[in-house]
């Protein structure tokens, strides 16, 4: 009785052992992590340094030009930050000049702010390029109060975007207590709203804007920033923006 049982049991085992012997491989048993911080004191690969130097020199020739002075460091933040307010102010002020018509509000999509800070001190053209590297143009759209509310709800759900011309409160991912140029939002009124063509074309899931006609003069968002830096420098001698509770979270 025992012998046949053993045979029957061991046959598949032998078979598996045989199959196993057919192939050997390697399997990870341990992983050691250790990210390396790239700091100033590290040595430089001079061959690569000189490979990119001609590109850098050419870029620097125009990009190192100082266009203004930042008085207080501007910070990117939600629901509101000084850097975002600076950009929204620039789009609203320069956009109104460019389109030669009143504009009710200008928005900046938060993800489109590509620097976390503009440090106090000289502001170079290169910094503006880093802040707004995209070749987006400013686009004007007419929205009903209902459509504007729908767009503001998207902005609220995304944690709040910089805006000039509107203030509102975010509660349960919706925009409430909305004031456009200090007047409560009217569902039936029409509003002229400025965005980058990225957002106006449905970027960041702004589907409600995608269907609306766009007015554009081909004015680059980055050009608006540069023009505003020159404008502010002329008006007040420095570049800046303040927090004004334009967008806040409900208590």
């Amino acid at each position: 009785m025992i012998r046949p049982f053993f045979l029957r049991l061991s046959l598949p085992v032998l078979l598996i052992s045989f199959l196993a012997a057919c192939r050997t491989g390697y399997a990870p048993t341990q992983a050691n992590y250790g990210n390396q911080r790239i700091t100033r004191d590290l040595a430089t690969d001079s061959a690569l340094f000189f490979l990119i130097k001609p590109y850098g020199d050419s870029v620097d020739k125009s990009m190192s030009r100082v266009v203004g002075t930042v008085r207080n460091t501007l910070e990117k933040d939600q629901p509101e930050g000084t850097l975002g307010n600076f950009m929204a102010d620039a789009y609203l002020t320069m956009g109104a000049r460019q389109f030669q018509q009143p504009i009710d509000a200008a928005f900046v999509n938060y993800g489109g702010i590509r620097l976390n800070q503009l440090p106090a001190g000289p502001l170079t053209l290169g910094k503006i390029f880093e802040l707004m590297p995209f070749d987006n143009v400013l686009v004007l759209q007419q929205l009903s109060g209902v459509e504007l509310q729908s767009f503001l709800d998207l902005v609220a759900a995304r944690g709040g975007w910089p805006v000039a011309g509107i203030r509102f409160t975010i509660k349960d991912k919706k925009a409430i207590d909305v004031y456009v140029k200090d007047k409560p939002l009217q569902p039936t009124a029409q509003y002229w709203i400025l965005n980058s063509d990225f957002v106006a074309s449905g970027g960041d899931n702004a589907e409600m804007l995608k269907v609306l006609p766009q007015r554009s003069t081909g004015y680059l968002a980055r050009k608006a920033l540069i023009d505003y830096v020159l404008f502010q420098s002329q008006q007040q001698g420095f570049v800046g923006a303040v927090l004004e509770n334009r967008v806040r979270y409900a208590q």
């Binding site: 012997a21 399997a27 590297p133």
Partner: protein
Amino acid sequence: MLSRKNFLRQSALLAGGLLSAPLVGEALEGASAYRLVILHTNDTHSRLDPFPMDGSRNQGLGGVAKRAQIIKQIRAQEPYVLLLDAGDIFQGTPYFNFYKGEPEIKAMSYMGYDATTIGNHDFDAGMESLATQLRLHARFPMLVCNYKVDGTPLEGNVKPYQIFRRGPLKVGILGVGIEGKGLIPDQLFGSTVYLDPIAEANKVADTLRKKEHCDLVICLSHLGNRYTTERKVSDEDLAKQTEEIDLIIGGHTHTFLDKPLVYTNKKGRDVLVNQVGFGGILLGRIDFEFSKFSGQKILKTEKILISSKTVG
């Protein structure tokens, strides 16, 4: 007498018992152990120079010439190295506005990158421009398995995966890209078709493991680490819902991870996820220790021992 069912069960138990023999003991058997060093970046965003010394948070950090030197040193010490990137090579400094990616790709080729995937901002100068830069200057593949690029300028310039050999080790690397809708303007994404990254990654990883018998399967991902409010597929989802991926090198969300995240996949095996912020501030490093196994034992290593290492 044993019934056939019981007999099979008993055999399976016995086989299982044999196969789960102590792995560590075998790993110590001299020449059967190998180390593979994975170095990686993500979202370098045209940051060729270190961040300028202007008082901002990251001043003085990063820079390709310093990164290159570190990589050189590591390669001098370690025989088996893979240098990888998870996309968004482009856009962020005037270099890109001026040169559309030429110096970025040249620098990566110089550093000896083995592979990258495609980020949403790598579309920013258009697919034609990206294809040209890759064709002229890239000595590494751009890997993406969930974008159908037939008939676009990227056709023939990207591929789903590539297999790398490092000594006796066979490593399969694939790439996944993020959904273009709402993120990449239509005119830039063109007729590229986005496919479900989890389904596609599973298919490719399955091939790499079972047909190609890769010892390690790595996915370069530009999906993003994880999402709380948005309903987007993340590296977390990918890690949990795949079967044959060992390591995900992530990007897009600019997430700084102090150490790799560890998830359990559909087969109950460990999957590591790492991401190193943005701008080349960090060079990610994970050293995998490999042991030689036979047959089914290879599939039995469920847990990977993870620990920090002190890097010089």
